[in-house]
Symmetry: C2
Subunit: 268 residues, 2 copies
DNA sequence: GGACAGCGTTCCGACTATTCGAACGATTGC
DNA sequence: GCAATCGTTCGAATAGTCGGAACGCTGTCC
């Protein structure tokens, strides 16, 4: 949860920019169409002030006004930003071909994610190449967010965080039960992260949703920092835990290690 | 090219927001790492002013500072925006399953795009389901942009624009030759758009790149406005023009019509 | 090793863009 | 036809913003 209160009141901070972006991100979830008054209420500003920001955003192409309802929605210009963010990631560029090969070799869906606070953000995704395969699709795509504590990708990334960063991340976690085996306490998560770090990979056995298993491995850059993680997602009825860890895990770890090597990582 | 000069100086416009977003979008292409001075030069502002915006953006998570180089890069928060834009598109939501079915049925890559100025922006993409298939991948993904005049998707969208909008769009086109058959004059493009509108679909026969053929059909909403377009992309060595237009074109048009119907479109 | 140029950052007073309330025209529901 | 709500415009008081100057730092060049 990011505080919406005043950040700094002194110099070195732009109130207008913060408010403009606040308005822009109000379009995130839920209703994609918002009016000036509606926005004013959610961000706590007068209608006239909101209108100024909205007009600016519309002029620049970040918002579009619906001619009938007079309400606003996000414009194509916003896409630019999102995708330049993704494309400016070196990891993703380097990893892409390896992930595709991994997906082709195993026949399962492969995902890559980074950590942002307590969330993971998908930055690459190769769907299972076998069509008829039972689909475990939680409507995930590049850019989707999931809580870190109940995903294999998230646990691997949390496990390799420095102590202070890990503490900070764990502080903000809301341990909601989401699947049969969700980890629901900080204590249990800490033990799990310790195990993950020792093993070098993380397993998710129906912690996020019923029927969903996955295994994830970290990707290190040349600073030996875990900048991303890759996983293989399977349906629990198709792959046993043993098979997941032993057979698929080995293939996955090899792929992850290749990517790390390309990023200049040298194992100790 | 979007003018960077003053927009309005009166009321109803936020200078700070424009400048903040200008800085944010300076990270778009090219170097993903930018410093304060560098930014100041590109956007024409003093270092101190730029620093205020950059600090604000970093606090909010839209930028991240590299600890070593002190330079800035885009943060994960920017991803949110881009993907909420994509996900808030009703067309995309409705079309997704149809596109997947179209891709599975034909075995070819299916794309959906919208028009933004003279560019098309990919908003959905289903890769060819047959692996061994010869890949014609210009490193395209959701969010990618291509000039409209040399793509089937773009021509279909331009063809169904209202007269004033079409004029405005054509004015800005830079007719660069990009493939063996690129249309290189406004006159020729106008004739082609007329044909596209009559036929109800557009064909791209190596106008964008050597070896690349595609056929695109428009998607109409309940206002009978072409809000998006779908295409099938093939390699010229795999599919003849006749086959593309007759066999694949028919399947494509049916899929596009289904999506249009779901959006409430009623053919005249 | 000292001078220099470049960087990111901070500070400050002058300034101007931004603020909200009030008012307008259009639309909607009763 | 009235009342409520919408998006929008206007204005004067305000407060957030502006860029020059200065700081500490890191490299490079004699």
């Amino acid at each position: 949860m990011v505080g919406t209160e005043a950040r700094e009141s002194g110099t070195g901070y732009s109130q207008s920019l913060e408010r403009g972006l606040l308005i822009l991100s109000a379009f995130r979830s839920g209703q994609p169409q918002l009016g000036v008054s509606e926005l004013g209420r959610t961000v706590g500003l007068s209608r006239s002030t909101v209108h100024r920001y909205v007009a600016t955003l519309a002029t620049l192409g970040y918002l579009q006004q619906d001619e009938e309802t007079k309400k606003y929605r996000l414009g194509p210009r916003v896409l630019d930003l999102g995708f330049s963010a993704i494309n400016s990631m070196e990891v993703r560029e380097v990893a892409a071909p390896h992930l595709r090969r991994l997906s082709d070799a195993t026949g399962f869906t492969v995902n890559m994610a980074i950590l942002d606070g307590n969330d993971i953000v998908y930055v690459e995704r190769c769907r299972s190449t076998r069509p008829g395969q039972r689909e475990i699709d939680l409507n995930l795509h590049v850019g989707s967010r999931l809580p870190a504590y109940c995903t294999s990708l998230g646990k691997v990334l949390l496990a390799h965080l420095s102590q202070p960063l890990q503490d900070a991340a764990l502080d903000g976690i809301d341990f909601t039960r989401r699947g049969p085996n969700t980890i629901t306490s900080r204590r249990a998560l800490l033990a799990e992260l310790e195990r993950v770090r020792r093993q070098g990979f993380a397993v998710n056995n129906e912690e996020l949703a019923y029927g969903l298993r996955s295994i994830a491995a970290p990707i290190f850059d040349f600073h030996a920092e875990a900048v991303a993680a890759v996983n293989l997602a399977v349906h629990s009825s198709m792959v046993s835990m043993q098979d997941l860890v032993a057979r698929l895990g080995e293939t996955l770890r090899r792929a992850a290690a290749e990517v790390s090597a390309h990023l200049g990582y040298q194992p100790a």
